[in-house]
């Protein structure tokens, strides 16, 4: 798939590198994130990586008065994408997260997947997960991909979820950093502070392992 570049409203441009969750597209997002971060386009306010896309938010007044607006920036984005990479992509950190698998939805997930609770725990904690990007809440990391045997649908109606709750949704897993309504199936919880000093523990490109704990 060729890169798709499109305007997101009047303040941002999104570059879409693919249309499915994969390590290949993820690595491309990370490389481009660091490329645009180390040598930003004029008027850049934010760089927002996601599963297969990178969005650049611009200062509208600045780019409109000096660079023919977003249309002009789109040309600059295309030029930059054609350049060879020069940015150094940092090696992501590995986080070991102690997890108490006693979530309120563990039993329901086991039934839905046709597995025992201990199999769910084993399968979930066996794999190392990639932090694809942060979004939804400050410090909330979209991680994946989970083993297809533990793929579950979101809840139909969101419920209140507590900080440290570990959930599943589709082939993703994640930890809620703060209290929030959410539709993910909660299978466990951790005491690890995901917002130490108010800053997110996880960064895009990090990897996470869940270490089962006994209560």
């Amino acid at each position: 798939m060729k890169n798709q570049i499109y305007e997101l409203g009047d303040t941002a441009i999104t570059i879409e590198f693919g249309n499915e969750i994969s390590m290949e597209f993820h690595e491309e997002v990370i490389r481009r994130f660091y490329q645009f971060q180390s040598n930003p386009l004029p008027g850049t306010l934010d760089l927002i990586p996601a599963y297969t896309s990178l969005t650049i938010v611009f200062d509208l007044g600045y780019v409109a008065s000096r660079f023919q607006g977003l249309a002009g920036m789109k040309t600059l984005v295309e030029e930059k994408l054609a350049e060879p990479f020069s940015a150094v992509t940092p090696e992501g950190r590995i986080h070991k997260i102690p997890c108490l698998y006693e979530g309120p939805d563990l039993a329901a997930v086991a039934v839905a997947c046709g597995l025992s609770e201990s199999e769910i725990i084993r399968i979930h904690s066996e794999k190392e997960y990639q932090v694809y990007f942060l979004g939804f809440l400050p410090g909330f990391a979209y991680m994946g991909t989970t083993d297809e045997r533990i793929t579950v649908a979101r809840k139909e109606t969101p419920v209140t979820i507590q900080p440290g709750d570990i959930g599943l949704a589709g082939n993703q897993t994640g930890i809620y950093p703060s209290t929030s309504p959410g539709g993910w199936q909660i299978i466990g919880r951790t005491t690890t502070d995901l917002l130490p000093d108010g800053l997110p523990l996880f960064q895009v490109g990090d990897r996470v392992r869940f270490i089962p704990q006994r209560s």
Binding site: L8, G9, T55, L60, G61, P200
Partner: protein, 287 residues
């Protein structure tokens, strides 16, 4: 200013703070950034300074020093020491004066900018003899939108509905987003999307066929189809609309969106320059 009675939803707000969205931290900021900046301009502050944003019922505030104050945005029938005072006009206020908002007349959010008058003892409330009327900048025309990436997800008849029918604003609307009430819109196809970035003004199509306009306190990413985007210049106007009101959308183009934004920003800068000059002359006249 000292808060003597809490409002329903008072907070100090500045312009959005960018640079942390890759950590899932949204830019936030005031809802009606035009009124926020106008209030700052009228008292000679920097346009991005923090101001008090209040909803109705608003809090009661007592001034602890001689202060220059400007009230912009919603008309909540603002009173200083039980005397009604105008919007969009700088006012000199003595120490001990009390600001109250009596009733919601129009608009959803009021912005109060203040500047301490360090070398002046104000004896009584004095309304400065100049005002800035933002009516020529903010109109009552339909809210202007740009097509979103997933505009085609709407069936042609629903695209027509979006551009021609009235949408009511749901009572559940807040600083994060406005839910709009209409007969459910129809989707042409239902391809699930991967989450990606959203911005203030992004109009998402929910699975129920209803629309949500993301506002100042929106999340950084979302996975619903982005059918359209409210242009930045019209977000302040939308931010002053509330439940029981209805709105219409009209399509515009990126050139207009950029022109309107620059027009507003230039207006605010001019107001700030004029007010700074008048304030310095005014002080000179009385010394």
């Amino acid at each position: 200013m000292k808060n003597t009675k809490k409002g329903l939803f008072d907070s100090l707000q500045s312009l959005p703070i960018f640079g942390l969205q890759h950590q899932g931290i949204p830019p936030g900021g005031g809802m009606d950034t035009f009124s926020l900046q106008l209030a700052n301009a009228l008292v000679g502050n920097d346009l991005y300074d923090k101001v008090l944003e209040m909803h109705f019922p608003a809090g009661v505030y007592e001034f602890e020093t001689s202060t220059l104050v400007a009230i912009c945005g919603a008309d909540f029938s603002a009173h200083l020491d039980e005397v009604p005072v105008p919007l969009n006009q700088p006012i000199k206020v003595p120490k001990g004066s009390v600001l109250t908002c009596k009733k919601p007349v129009s608009g959803m959010r009021v912005y109060v900018a203040t500047r301490e008058l360090k070398d002046e003892q104000v004896a009584r409330i004095k309304i400065m003899p100049w005002s800035m009327a933002p009516e020529n900048v903010l109109s009552n025309d339909p809210i202007r939108i740009l097509c979103g990436r997933e505009w085609d997800h709407l069936k042609a008849c629903s695209q027509q509905t979006l551009l021609s029918k009235d949408f009511a604003i749901s009572a559940t609307s807040n600083r994060m987003g406005y839910q709009l009430i209409q007969d459910p819109l129809k989707t042409a196809f239902a391809t699930p999307l991967l989450s990606s970035a959203v911005t203030a003004g992004t109009i998402q199509l929910l699975p129920s066929g209803q629309l949500v306009v993301l506002m100042a306190a929106h999340q950084t990413t979302g996975g619903y189809p982005r059918v359209a985007h409210v242009i930045s210049a019209d977000l302040p106007r939308l931010a002053q609309m509330g439940p029981k009101e209805s709105l219409r959308f009209t399509l515009t183009d990126p050139m207009t969106a950029e022109y309107e934004w620059i027009f507003q920003q230039n207006y605010l800068q001019q107001v700030r320059n004029v007010c700074a000059l008048k304030l310095s002359q005014h002080r000179f006249d009385h010394h």
